[in-house]
């Protein structure tokens, strides 16, 4: 649906070469300086959920959009749209966690804006963040570099954030609430880029739409088939059972602190070791590979040895009835 909107309405109007790359960040060259530039709006509901809130999400989200392109995030802007009557203590809590996350990520908010709108014109609070990062000279990540035989690496368990959000919603209480995995990923990214220079083809943080959607985006951009192995997918037991109850597939559930990387086959083990040595990659795994097929398709080898398709979803996953 949003892909349709993009293709039909936005791209034809804003058309240019930089936008046309459609990466998580725009890559700019200003007087010889290579910069990455990215923006994201945060409208999550509920605004507080197990392990985090809209504030840390707004910082990590933009930091990660810059990071997965190989950039070192430097400066952020922050825009707030606040509904009239929003409790000050909630605002304070959100700003506190933004502050902490900024420190953790080593970025600064250097410009901002606040608007208060009439009750009902916004839902509690919306935050937009935009970030600028420095793109090191030698870094060139793109799905165009994907080759048959490349390995697919994932930095940890899938679906944690989406399930944390669901369990934060009214009327849906899990016995052991899953915490969001929201985390800044540029430290992990820099570790990989420095430890295995030239070996990483492309990276992404699989947020909305989950790992399945990011893999499909890789497959389409590279026109390659990708196959993942169901037995190797890291899923927390609590996430697996919550998904089971709700009829969701964890492959499509959002993450906010996971890194998906396509890596040259000869370096896959080394990159895996680098991931596992980092605090945000302890449960990293090699989950699949790029096939020698010029078809944009993602498939999954099931535990029974059968092969199924991992498709793009037409909309959000909807919880089922029984």
């Amino acid at each position: 649906m949003s892909h349709d909107l993009l293709d039909k309405f936005f791209l034809p109007r804003f058309e240019n070469d930089i936008l046309g790359e459609l990466g998580d960040q725009a890559r700019l060259n200003i007087d010889g300086a290579r910069l990455a530039f990215s923006t994201d709006s945060f409208v999550v509901d509920p605004i507080f959920f197990p392990g985090g809130n809209i504030g840390d999400l707004a910082v990590n989200g933009t930091v990660n959009d810059l990071a997965v392109g190989g950039a070192v995030p430097l400066y952020l802007s922050a825009g707030f749209i606040i509904e009239e009557g929003f409790p000050m203590e909630d605002l304070h809590r959100i700003l506190l966690s933004m502050e902490q996350t900024m420190h953790r990520a080593g970025v600064m908010v250097v410009t901002g804006d606040t608007k208060v709108v009439n009750k009902g014109s916004a839902d509690k609070i919306f935050i937009n963040t935009t970030g600028i990062g420095r793109l090191p000279e030698e870094v060139d990540l793109s799905p165009a570099h994907i080759r048959p035989g490349d390995k697919v690496l994932l930095s940890g368990s899938i679906g944690d954030h989406g399930i944390a959000i669901l369990s934060g919603r009214e009327g849906f209480a899990l016995e052991n609430p899953v915490q969001t995995d929201s985390a800044p990923l540029h430290g992990l990214v820099q570790t990989l880029l420095e430890g295995a220079p030239g070996q990483i083809r492309v990276m992404r943080d699989p947020t909305r739409g989950g790992v399945a959607t990011s893999l499909n985006e890789f497959a389409q951009a590279a026109n390659k088939a990708i196959r993942i192995d169901g037995k190797t997918l890291p899923v927390q037991p609590a996430v697996e059972s919550a998904c089971e109850i709700l009829g969701l597939d964890p492959l499509y559930v959002a993450n906010e602190g996971k890194l998906l990387a396509i890596v040259a086959p000869e370096s896959a083990d080394a990159v895996l070791a680098l991931m596992r040595g980092h605090e945000y990659g302890k449960e990293a795994a090699i989950i699949g590979e790029v096939l020698d097929e010029e078809t944009a398709r993602v498939s999954l080898r099931t535990g029974l040895g059968a092969e199924t398709i991992i498709d793009m979803l037409p909309g959000e996953q909807l919880p089922r009835i029984c």
């Binding site: 009327g171 697996e240 009829g247 059968a306 398709i309 909309g315 909807l318 089922r320 009835i321």
Partner: protein, 368 residues
């Protein structure tokens, strides 16, 4: 959770598969009744690894799929009313009615909310005494106890702004209808383990006797389903019939009697129309007379709304196991999850959606 992983264990699954290949000497047609089982079969590729002679046909056990079109239209009419807060399980929102779906009503200003339990809708009614709160009570016997409880509680509290739009269906009536159909090809049934957890399986014993078919109470994980298939094939090969329970960790013969009590306190059995299958005698629930004030179709006088099905959609044949989704000329072209012609393409448990999502390009592979 070991409980789950154990029933997805490929080593155990492989052992059952080996036995299945040893006992199967000829072709058999088996129906899994429940959409959850269909989803699991297609998702894990069970149909690709069982002996080629065993044909799995997909049954009518997808509540979203069998909800008649006019019921969706009634829901849309109620949801569009300004005084109404319309609450539904998520997967009903994308089901197309004659002209639109609940998502469209929502985007046009209708107050449509996804809830995870009917009791949540009761809570919303309590908090909004000036609004009418309607819950779309769709589903099999599995969702009936909670829906019954919601009405029971609302009545006890004296809430007058809560009602149910009831489209409940029950399995035994549908099983009989399938078995008596002259075009029936199914030789054994995998019964829906969740339904049996609530209702038990004693109701199925006379059916198995009368029609001399094996009915195997079956779970939803790959190992469960393979065990169900193995039991059914073993019975067929030996010429046996009757009801067997292969989901004993969840199902007892008498089921959950407390859940049954609340169902019977609030609902009566009635004839119900099933989408694609027509009206089946004694195959659904209706609110008992003393709960009529909680019946949304009466309260909002939408009972007269009727609708006509798309003539390009073969979901009726799919739901009866007479056709497979990929035998439909519209499959994957005119009809896809983004532009569904029928409900079987909408729900994640609908056979068409499961085929589209997991196996649209997959050729059947021989067992290795």
């Amino acid at each position: 959770m070991k409980y789950l992983s154990e029933f997805r264990d490929p080593v155990i699954a492989r052992k059952i598969l080996d036995r299945l290949h040893r006992v199967t000497t000829r072709e058999w047609v088996i129906m899994e009744v429940c959409g959850g089982q269909t989803h699991s079969i297609i998702k894990h590729g069970i149909d690709q690894v069982i002996p080629a002679g065993i044909r799995l046909v997909h049954g009518p056990g997808c509540p979203v799929c069998v909800t008649p079109l006019e019921m969706i239209d009634q829901a849309l009419a109620i949801a569009a009313r300004p005084e109404v807060i319309f609450c539904s399980f998520g997967d009903m929102l994308r089901v197309p009615g004659s002209r639109k779906d609940l998502f469209t009503v929502k985007s046009e200003g209708g107050d449509v909310r996804i809830v995870y339990s009917p009791l949540e809708a009761v809570k919303i009614a309590r908090a909004n005494p000036e609004r009418e709160v309607v819950f779309f009570a769709v589903g099999f016997e599995t969702t009936a106890p909670a829906n019954a409880m919601a009405v029971y509680q609302a009545k006890r509290e004296g809430l007058t702004n809560f009602s149910l739009l009831v489209s409940h269906v029950t399995v035994p009536g549908a099983l009989r209808a399938l078995l008596t159909s002259p075009s029936n090809q199914v030789q054994a049934y995998l019964s829906a383990g969740h339904v049996n957890t609530v209702m038990g399986y004693h109701e199925y014993e006379p059916i198995a006797e009368e029609y001399q078919v094996p009915i195997v109470v079956t779970g939803f994980e790959p190992v469960d389903i393979l065990e169900g298939i193995l039991e059914a094939v073993t019975m067929l090969e030996q010429g046996e019939y009757g009801v067997r329970n292969r989901y004993a960790r969840s199902v007892r013969r008498d089921g959950n009697t407390r859940s049954q009590e609340i169902i019977h306190r609030v609902f009566d059995l009635t004839d119900r129309k099933w989408r694609g299958m027509g009206t089946i005698p004694q195959s659904g629930y209706v609110l008992r007379p003393e709960y009529r004030a909680y019946d949304a179709s009466v309260k909002f006088a939408v009972g007269e709304i009727t609708a006509r099905e798309s003539d390009r959609c073969i979901s009726g044949l799919v739901l009866q196991g007479l056709k497979r989704p990929n035998q439909c000329p519209a499959f994957g072209t005119e009809c896809s999850p983004e532009t569904p012609l029928g409900a079987t393409m909408v729900s994640s448990e609908g056979a068409c959606a499961a085929y589209y999502r997991y196996q649209r390009f997959t050729e059947r592979e021989p067992y290795a």
